[in-house]
Amino acid sequence: MTRGAAGPTLVLVLAVGVLVATGVTLLLERSLTRILLGIILLGNGVNLLILLGGRSGAAPLAGTALAGGMSDALPQAMVLTAVVITFGLTAFLLAVAYRAWFTSGDDEVQDDLEDRQIVRLAGRDEVAAADLGGEGPDDDREQVDPEPARRRLRRDEES
């Protein structure tokens, strides 16, 4: 890292690029473990990016350096907060991945079942929950003779 008020080094900029690119690539996988690794890399890339936002320089302690030559402490404080948050979320995601592996034997993120069902229905050109109507008074015995709810339900089970 360069000292003084010069801009960020190219190495850091490239590191951000590589971290974010690999992170995004891993995020596109289906396995939660790889997604987790992707999020860790991406998070580190973003943290480095924030660090680049501030001026680099000497440690910001009063009396140790000229005011102009000090680094900007605020991005570093933000990165600290962000690191803690990313760490917590990563730990949670790790727990989710482990639990998913524990319950279902793998940690792949599955498609939504209802979605697939609706795609199938759409392929057959059918309605999801048809309101068929057409139930006249004869189809509905209770239409004529309403009784208290509890007894009616019991009779339904018997028939």
């Binding site: 939660l32 989710v96 319950t103 279902s104 609706i118 709810a149």
Partner: protein
């Protein structure tokens, strides 16, 4: 008076700590949670009155003056949001306590539920009150971390499958937000929103547009705006009913709030209003068409939730006082009504054993009370005249017509079609689930619903109706808030008085 501002954040956090300590004593845990949220509601009402009469209430955390320390700002918009959100969270808390007491309750009261729920509330209020972009990010993270725990509560296979999608998408949007925050700081050297309002105007317009779009994308994912909304209907429905209800009511609205705040305070001038309008129209139409295809009540309501976010974005895109005012009113209305509908879905699940429209029917005869509790908010959502849904939509459509031009006109059309399709969806649920011959999915129906669950739902239904009755004064508040937002000066002057360098 400014001493009250941090309370909506601090009280739930302290409550969370207390309830975590008292894990073994559920009765005490419950009363602490209710007490916390009740006092937050009281404080929020006082704050709203103060902000309405005397302008934004500001507190400098730690006594540091504004650009150095962080500030919490309760202007009219923020205070109004805190009032509505705390009222809704209180009702949902009562509902979940009622559900925990029911013998056939789907989830036994997990001891972790109360602390997490309070942390979630603290995150939501912190996001509303934040006067600093990084503090807004922290608020988002607090509520997200709590919501991760709530959505995977119990750790069953289905919840993990849907929960992992939610967790990954949320983390990704947070990282986007975080990098946008970093870039904003790199471009301006500050994150205080009032100071940013002045400094961003001096930033080159290309950079400014990039920052605006990055923030918009991050908030758009959180608010479930169309191209990035697919995660919501997949992840919300499997969570327990009160959790889904509070997520549906609040979490997306926090995203909408952040969009309103950044688009008015940081990036005024409506440079992306064309994009926002296209996105709003697509959100409305695609969302409601998704709802038409669904056969499960909870999934169906998730899609109407996505669809109606479009109305709020439309109001923001108009960036006129009338549009913003309509948008804020719609947020208030939608928080109430959408939460109510998910709570009713929970009641239906409790009573009939399922929310799948293929397996239930005729509930109007089995449980008339639930039928009424469904009918009122459903018609409210669809925008049937006396209700606040109608007034909110009318306000937005009038603002759209007043704006003139081709795109707003198309949006007005899309809004009307969406409203009609919502009516179709609502009446389809009514016909199938409530109006046919009785049919329940469970062999051992739970004939008596717990009074507290029904009571809490009824209270929210009543709140929705009350919004109709007080629509006049409420529109005054929202119009006032919208004027302040458009002017920007009341907010900036409250945070950075002239005597501060």
């Amino acid at each position: 008076m400014s001493g009250l501002v941090p309370l909506p954040v601090v009280v739930p956090l302290l409550g969370a700590a207390l309830t975590l300590i008292l894990t073994g004593r559920p009765r005490l845990q419950r009363s602490i949670s209710v007490l916390c949220l009740g006092s937050v509601l009281l404080v929020a009402v006082v704050l709203l009155g103060e902000a309405y009469r005397h302008g934004p209430v500001v507190v400098r955390v730690g006594g540091w003056p504004a650009p150095v320390g962080i500030v919490l700002v309760a202007d009219q918009l923020a205070a109004l949001m805190v009032v509505v959100s705390s009222a809704v969270t209180l009702c949902v808390l009562l509902y979940s306590i009622g559900q925990g007491r029911a013998e056939t309750g789907e989830t036994a009261p997990v001891s972790i539920y109360h602390p997490t729920y309070l942390v979630l509330t603290a995150g939501v209020t912190n996001a509303f009150l934040a006067g600093d972009l990084f503090n807004l990010f922290v608020g988002f993270e607090i509520l997200l971390a709590a919501s991760f725990v709530l959505i995977t509560l119990g750790g069953t296979e289905a919840r993990l499958r849907t929960g992992s999608t939610y967790v990954v998408v949320s983390i990704l949007s947070s990282l986007l937000f975080l990098s946008a925050v970093g870039l904003v700081y790199a471009a301006t050297g500050t994150l205080n929103m009032a100071q940013l309002a002045g400094r961003l105007d001096a930033v080159p317009s290309g950079v400014r547009l990039t920052l605006q779009l990055m923030l918009l994308l991050a908030f758009g994912i959180k608010a479930a705006v169309f191209p990035v909304s697919a995660w919501l209907p997949d992840s919300y429905p499997t969570a327990p009913a009160p959790v889904t209800a509070v997520f549906a009511g609040l979490l997306t609205k926090v995203g909408v709030y952040a969009i309103i705040r950044t688009e008015t305070l940081l990036f005024p001038g409506g440079r992306v209003s064309g994009l926002l309008m296209v996105v709003a129209g697509l959100t409305m139409v695609v969302g409601i068409l998704g709802a038409v295809a669904q056969s499960d009540m909870k999934r169906l309501f998730s899609f109407t939730l996505v669809s109606h976010i479009g109305y709020m974005i439309f109001g923001v895109a108009l960036s006129s006082v009338a549009g913003l005012s309509g948008s804020i009113f719609y947020v208030v209305h939608h928080i109430t009504v959408q939460t109510t509908l998910f709570l009713v879905a929970g009641l239906v699940e409790e009573r009939a054993g399922s929310t799948d429209l293929r397996r239930i029917g005729g509930l109007a005869r089995v449980t008339p009370v639930v039928a009424v509790l469904f009918f009122v908010p459903a018609m409210n959502l669809a925008g049937i005249p006396p209700f606040s849904g109608f007034l909110g939509k009318l306000g937005l459509l009038q603002a759209g017509v007043a704006a003139g031009g081709a795109l707003p006109a198309v949006l007005v059309g899309a809004g009307t079609v969406t409203s009609l399709l919502t009516l179709y969806v609502a009446s389809r649920v009514w016909n199938i689930a409530f109006w046919r011959a009785p049919k329940v999915a469970t062999g051992t129906p739970n004939t008596r619903l717990p009074g507290l669950m029904v009571g809490a739902t009824a209270a929210l239904v009543a709140l929705g109706v009350l919004l109709t009755l007080v629509a006049g004064p409420l529109f005054q508040v929202t119009a006032d808030a919208a004027t302040d937002l458009r002017q920007r000066t009341p907010y900036v002057r409250a945070v950075l008085p002239r005597d501060v360098p």
